[in-house]
C-alpha cells in the first residue's frame, strides 16, 4: 500500500483501514507494508498483493471495493511490472520507488542500495569527479548545469568547511518527482548527498524541503535518523569514509527560495532574497563557504551512476541531454503520473500516447512544460523531443520536467495573466523589472482583455525589459509563459478586442 502523499490524498488511509477490516471478517492475517508510489497516479490508491508470480495490482482502489483484492473484479490490473506504463520506462533513479519499504535499510540494500557509495568510497576524488562528469548528468532542478563541473569547483575550493545543500523546494506546478522520491526512496537522496560530501570534502548537508510537503519532511527526517543510527551518516560515512551528516530544514512558503542563492539566505535565517552571482555558491555559498546546491533528483541519480557506471548512464538520452528524466505528467490528462525515460521522447507521444490525452475527453489546447516559468506549447510543436537544447530552441524550457496539459476550454489570456500574478506574489523584490513589471503585466493584460489593441506592444516591451533586467529566472522567465501564450494563441488575446469592437 502506498504511503505517498498523492495516494493518501486519494484515500489510501481509508483503503488500508477497509482492507484490515475485511481481512478480519474473512479470518485472514494481512501483512501490510507501506511503500512509495509507482508513479501511476491515476491508479492511486494502488493496492499490490505479493504473489508467487509477482505483485498483483488493484486500483484505483476505494474503501467500498476492497473485496476485489480478495475476490478479483474490474479493479484487478494483473501484475504491476507488466503494465504498459511500467514496462515502457527506464527506471534508474526511481528503480526502488514504490517497490521497497522506504525506511528499511535491508530493503534498500537488497535492491542495490549503497553499492554506489561503496564503490565511490574505493575511488579517489579525481576518479569520482571524472565519473560524474562522464555521466553527462545535468542539474534536474531547472538550469541544467553539469553536476560534475559544479562538484569540481567545490572540490577545488580551499576552506575550513564546505556544505552540500539538497534543493527540495520543488515549487513548480506540475512537478512532484522530488516529493515522490523523498517519500518513496529517501535513502537514495541520502546516498547521493554522502557521495557528494566525500567527493568535495563537505562534512555537513542540508535538505531544504518546502513546507507544503509534510509527508516528505517526515519521511526524510526519519530516514536521516535511521541512516545515522546505522552508521551510514555521522563521524565516518558507512564506517570507512570521512565525516558527513545531514540536517532537514523546512521552507516557509516562498517559491523564490527554490532559487539557489535565495535558498541559501533562507537556510541562514534571512529573507529569501536572491543574491547576485558571482560569487558562485560553489565558492561562497552557505555562510560564505563553498557549497554544492543540487536538486533532489540530481542527487538521487548519483548512486545510479556509481552503481551502473558513468558510461551506462550516459548511453541513455540524446545530444547533450544524457541519461533519464522523470517526466511528471499532470493537469488535464487521462493518465497522470511520473514516467522515467531516456531524454528524447516527443511531447506528442508523452501527451497523447502515454497520458492518453485529456481527462475531459476534449482536444488538447496547450501544454505548459517546466513549471510556472515554462512556455505553453501548442499541439503544432508536439514533435519537439524532450531535451534541454531542443526545448530552448522551441522557445521553452525543460525545467524540472513538469508537463501540465490543458484542454480547449483554457483561456490563454487568463493563463498569461496568472503568470504575471504569480510573479508579483512571489517576487523577492530585489529588482524593479520583476517587482514592478509583474504588477504592470497584470494591468496590461487586463487592458488587452478590455479590448485595447495598443496594449499588446506594451506587453511585448514589458517582457523584453523583464527578460533583460531581472537578476533571476523568476522575473527573467515569466515572459516565457506570457509570450508563448501570445504567440501561439493570438485568438485568445483578440477575442476580447473583437467583442469590444
Amino acid at each position: 500500500m502506498p504511503l505517498d502523499a498523492a495516494a493518501r490524498a486519494c484515500g489510501a488511509e481509508e483503503v488500508v483501514a477497509a482492507l484490515q477490516a475485511e481481512a478480519v471478517l474473512r479470518g485472514i492475517t494481512l501483512d501490510v507494508v507501506r511503500n512509495g508510489s509507482r508513479g501511476m497516479v491515476w491508479l492511486e490508491p494502488l493496492v499490490e498483493v505479493e504473489t508467487e508470480k509477482g505483485r498483483a495490482g488493484f486500483g484505483p482502489m476505494t474503501a467500498a471495493d476492497v473485496g476485489q483484492v480478495f475476490d478479483g473484479g474490474p479493479l484487478a490490473l494483473g501484475l504491476v511490472e507488466d503494465l504498459p506504463w511500467m514496462k515502457a520506462q527506464t527506471r534508474l533513479t526511481f528503480a526502488r520507488c514504490g517497490v521497497i519499504d522506504p525506511l528499511s535499510l535491508a530493503d534498500y540494500r537488497a535492491h542495490g542500495g549503497f553499492v554506489g557509495l561503496e564503490r565511490a568510497l574505493g575511488m579517489g576524488v579525481e576518479a569520482r569527479l571524472a565519473d560524474v562528469i562522464a555521466s553527462g548528468l545535468r542539474g534536474r532542478g531547472g538550469a541544467g548545469f553539469p553536476t560534475g563541473i559544479k562538484w569540481r569547483t567545490v572540490a577545488a575550493a580551499v576552506a575550513d568547511r564546505k556544505y552540500i545543500v539538497c534543493n527540495a523546494d520543488e515549487g513548480d506546478s506540475g512537478t512532484f518527482a522530488d516529493r515522490m522520491i523523498m517519500e518513496g526512496d529517501p535513502f537514495s537522496v541520502i546516498e547521493g548527498m554522502a557521495i557528494a560530501g566525500i567527493t568535495v570534502r563537505a562534512t555537513k548537508g542540508f535538505v531544504y524541503i518546502r513546507s507544503e510537503y509534510p509527508d516528505a519532511i517526515a519521511m526524510m527526517t526519519a530516514a536521516v535518523d535511521v541512516a545515522r543510527e546505522a552508521g551510514v551518516l555521522g563521524a565516518s560515512v558507512a564506517g570507512s569514509g570521512p565525516a558527513f551528516d545531514i540536517e532537514v530544514r523546512v521552507g516557509a512558503g516562498a517559491y523564490v527560495c527554490g532559487e539557489e542563492t535565495s535558498l541559501l539566505n533562507s537556510l541562514e535565517g534571512k529573507r529569501g532574497v536572491v543574491r547576485a552571482k558571482p560569487p558562485l555558491p560553489a565558492l561562497e555559498g552557505f555562510l560564505g563557504k563553498p557549497t554544492v546546491v543540487n536538486n533532489v533528483i540530481s542527487l538521487a541519480t548519483i548512486p545510479v551512476i556509481f552503481e551502473r557506471g558513468a558510461q551506462a548512464y550516459a548511453d541513455f538520452g540524446m545530444g547533450r541531454s544524457r541519461g533519464t528524466i522523470p517526466l511528471q505528467i499532470a493537469g488535464n490528462v487521462a493518465r497522470g503520473g511520473l514516467f522515467e525515460t531516456a531524454f528524447g521522447m516527443s511531447l506528442g507521444d508523452i501527451v497523447l500516447g502515454l497520458a492518453g490525452g485529456t481527462a475531459s475527453g476534449r482536444p488538447v489546447k496547450a501544454v505548459q512544460v517546466g513549471g510556472p516559468l515554462g512556455a505553453y506549447f501548442p499541439p503544432a510543436l508536439f514533435d519537439t523531443p524532450f531535451c534541454y537544447e531542443e526545448y530552448a530552441g522551441a522557445g521553452g524550457l525543460v525545467g524540472h520536467a513538469g508537463i501540465v496539459v490543458f484542454d480547449d476550454s483554457a483561456d490563454m489570456l487568463a493563463q498569461a495573466r496568472f503568470a504575471f500574478e504569480f510573479c508579483a506574489i512571489e517576487s523577492c523584490g530585489k529588482c524593479t523589472p520583476c517587482r514592478i513589471g509583474a504588477v504592470r503585466g497584470v494591468e496590461t493584460i487586463d487592458r488587452i482583455a478590455r479590448g485595447e489593441a495598443a496594449a499588446v506592444p506594451l506587453l511585448t516591451d514589458l517582457c523584453d525589459t523583464m527578460k533583460a533586467g531581472s537578476l533571476c529566472a523568476l522575473g527573467g522567465f515569466t515572459p516565457y509563459p506570457v509570450m508563448s501564450a501570445l504567440r501561439h494563441f493570438p485568438d485568445d488575446f483578440a477575442k476580447a478586442r473583437e467583442a469590444a469592437e
Binding site: 490524498a9 491515476w42 516529493r179 507544503e212 517559491y255 541562514e268 535565517g269 510556472p372 504569480f422
Partner: protein
C-alpha cells in the same frame, strides 16, 4: 504568571532548544508558530534579543515568508491550490465556489473564527488535481461533492 510572562518563557525555551544550529531563525519561527498558532508581534523583540539580531531583521524575515502569520488563523484552515495543474482541472471554479460559500476572499478568516481560506501554489498533487489541504490533511481529485463535504466540515 501573566500571559506575557508565559509567552516570554516559552519563547525563551524555543530559542534555547535551537542553540548551536547554523542559521536557526526559520526553525525557531516555525516552532513559535507551532506553539502559538502565529508569530505574535510581542515575540519579535524577545527573539531578536535571544538570537542576537535586530528587531527589524526578525520582522523582515517574518514578513517575507507566506507561511508566518502575524495574527492567529481560524479554527480550521482550508487551503486550495491555485497553480496551473489544478487550474487545468477546474480548480479556479471550485475556488470561486468556496469563496462564495464561505463569503471569504483569500487570506480572510470568517467573523466567527471558524475558518481561514488560503491559496497555495502547488501541493505536489498535480497528477490528481485539483488539490486542497484541510488542517494539514491533503485532498486530491477535488470535485463539487468533496468540496461541499470539506466546507461543511470547516463551518463549525
Amino acid at each position: 504568571m501573566s500571559g506575557e510572562a508565559l509567552d516570554r518563557a516559552r519563547i525563551g525555551e524555543i530559542v534555547a532548544a535551537h542553540q548551536g544550529m547554523e542559521g536557526e531563525l526559520l526553525p525557531v519561527l516555525h516552532a513559535v508558530q507551532a506553539a502559538f498558532g502565529h508569530v505574535p508581534q510581542a515575540a519579535v523583540p524577545v527573539l531578536a534579543e535571544g538570537l542576537g539580531l535586530t528587531r527589524a531583521e526578525v520582522h523582515g524575515v517574518v514578513s517575507f515568508y507566506h507561511d508566518f502569520r502575524e495574527a492567529p488563523a481560524g479554527r480550521h484552515v482550508l487551503r486550495l491550490c491555485r497553480a496551473e495543474a489544478c487550474q487545468a482541472m477546474g480548480g479556479d471554479r471550485l475556488a470561486l465556489a468556496a469563496q462564495e460559500w464561505l463569503g471569504l476572499d483569500w487570506h480572510q478568516t470568517s467573523a466567527d473564527g471558524a475558518v481561514t481560506l488560503e491559496p497555495v501554489f502547488c501541493l505536489g498533487l498535480c497528477a490528481c488535481a485539483p488539490a486542497a489541504q484541510v488542517n494539514g490533511r491533503l485532498v486530491g481529485r477535488l470535485d463539487d461533492e468533496k468540496l461541499a463535504a470539506l466546507l461543511g466540515g470547516v463551518r463549525s
